[in-house]
């Protein structure tokens, strides 16, 4: 962990050498997710609710999902450029060092322009809570913390899968975007609105529903109390991801020079 902190500082210093470009790309990142919000706003100008969720409920859902995703993204997004790490042989260097491979990959680049997105997530997150009219209890605060932990774990797991697949294909697979960016995009609405099939997939295959739909019901006073523990169960999703990664590392044969 200390090592990761050190990596983090080095990148912060290097990015600060190019301040204007950095600020502009932060604004850009901000605008991208702001579009999604505007889209929702105009949809709800027309429709009062969807599947029993009002505008305020959906905002809360969007804020939390975006927050979970941004947290995972800001430190696990390095896996996104993992194909190039494999192709140019950088992974060989990583393998020979006596440290954990995952940690080194994560530390080899930190994307600070994502700060724009985190900021946006933070704004949406607070705004979502402000308008939700939620009745605060101790249990709900714990639920939210669980949601953030579980959500970060699930999204990080997905990034990890994306990288692990690269060991076999040497190339990033575009369809993995459905699970990462797509989940952020469509996670703005509670997953139950997409119909039964999608909902079941999101519960048992990739546990989106556990980090979003069920605990959300608790926050809205509609769920059973044990729903607030489900995000922690979603952390179990990391286990198959790690296994796949380990298999990938064992399968790895050097490419590039």
């Amino acid at each position: 962990m200390k090592l990761y902190g050190k990596f983090f500082m080095i990148h912060l210093k290097s990015i600060m050498e190019y301040k204007t470009s950095f600020i502009l790309s932060c604004i850009g990142q901000f605008l991208v997710s702001f579009n999604v919000f505007l889209g929702m706003y105009f949809m709800f100008r027309r429709f009062s609710n969807v599947e029993g969720f009002t505008y305020n409920d959906v905002l809360l859902c969007f804020g939390i999902t975006l927050m979970e995703f941004s947290l995972a993204e800001s430190f696990a997004r390095r896996f996104d450029t993992f194909p190039s790490v494999i192709r140019n042989g950088e992974f060989d260097r990583i393998m020979v060092r006596p440290r954990n491979e995952i940690l080194q990959v994560l530390g080899s680049r930190v994307e600070f322009s994502r700060i724009g997105r985190i900021l946006q997530a933070l704004v949406m997150f607070t705004y979502g809570f402000a308008v939700s009219g939620i009745r605060w209890t101790f249990g709900k605060i714990v639920t939210i913390i669980f949601m953030l932990i579980g959500g970060t774990a699930v999204f990080s797991g997905l990034f990890l899968i994306y990288a692990a697949i690269c060991f076999f294909t040497l190339e990033g697979l575009e369809f993995m975007n459905i699970f990462t960016d797509g989940a952020r995009e469509y996670g703005k609405y509670p997953v139950s609105i997409y119909g039964k099939t999608v909902f079941q997939l999101c519960t048992f295959v990739v546990p989106y529903a556990l980090i979003q739909y069920y605990p959300l019901l608790v926050l809205l006073d509609r769920g059973k109390p044990y729903y607030s523990l489900l995000p922690l169960a979603a952390c179990l999703f990391l286990i198959p991801c790690l296994l796949l990664w380990k298999t990938g590392v064992r399968h790895y044969s050097s490419a590039g020079s």
Partner: protein
């Protein structure tokens, strides 16, 4: 003119080479489209009377949008062009006896078209065979279909002309990241990429329909589904032609200005 056509053909056949990437893209876009339709279905079930288009038209809009994604998405700009401005490779292009604007224009057209040719057919085919309200309906009439094809190309022209403006601006700013990101998100939203334009409340929509962004994907996609017809349709087509020429003229002016004061970067 011939050399630009040659550029076009070269790029077009280059783009056709990437078939594996296209396959992955097709799967992604198909799932993406399906999710979009499921979302609209939920809203439709919640309150069908507030739905501004027919549900079938909405589905057709979504499938067409996914199929022709490569024609209209502003984020598919060419990194090679931006890189050449930053690292100085642009000087080779400037040595040639050709106009940079025309060359890049034909090149972008070719790139987008070749991507769309590879990707659109499988998506359209699959969408046609989906059960009734969710699938792609046949075009409302033959004239509407022909007009759809024409406006598809006009829309492509407007999109490319707009991207050209961004390329031209990066001659002045060098680092293009910021301009690009802002431009991309503005286009995405105002052209009906996030939600189709009819879903916006009337006063907002009336303004949006006048902007060049509405002349991109909005017009052809809505003509296909019969959502846009009669006088408003004619109006929209004229606007498309107007914006196409206006954007090209503006791009040319910027081109001339940029060529006067260009500095070659890198070494």
């Amino acid at each position: 003119m011939r050399k630009y056509i040659a550029f076009f053909r070269l790029r077009f056949s280059m783009g056709l080479q990437y078939r594996a990437a296209a396959l992955a893209g097709i799967v992604t876009q198909f799932v993406w489209g399906a999710m979009e339709i499921l979302m609209f279905r939920a809203f439709y079930q919640a309150d069908a009377s507030a739905f501004p288009m027919t549900f079938q038209a909405t589905c057709a809009y979504v499938w067409m949008q996914q199929a022709f994604l490569a024609l209209f998405m502003a984020w598919m700009m060419e990194n090679e062009i931006f890189d050449s401005i930053v690292n100085g490779n642009i000087s080779y292009e400037l040595c040639r006896p050709i106009n940079v604007y025309n060359m890049w224009f034909s090149r972008s057209l070719a790139n987008r078209l070749s991507k769309a040719v590879l990707r659109s057919m499988p998506i359209l085919l699959a969408a046609v065979f989906l059960p009734a309200p969710y699938g792609l309906m046949p075009p409302v009439s033959l004239p509407a279909f022909l007009l759809f094809l024409i406006t598809l190309f006009l829309g492509l022209g407007v999109t490319v002309a707009f991207c050209m403006l961004v390329y031209m601006v990066s001659f002045f700013t060098i680092s293009s990241t910021g301009v690009r990101m802002v431009a991309v998100s503005v286009v995405e939203f105002l052209s009906g990429g996030v939600i189709p334009l009819p879903f916006f409340p009337d006063p907002v929509r009336q303004v949006m329909e006048l902007l060049p962004f509405a002349s991109m994907q909005n017009v052809p996609l809505r003509i296909y589904s019969g959502d846009l017809s009669g006088p408003p349709m004619r109006h929209a087509v004229f606007l498309q032609i107007f914006w196409l020429f206006a954007l090209i003229a503006l791009g040319r002016c910027l081109d001339v200005l940029a060529m006067k004061k260009i500095t070659i970067q890198g070494g």
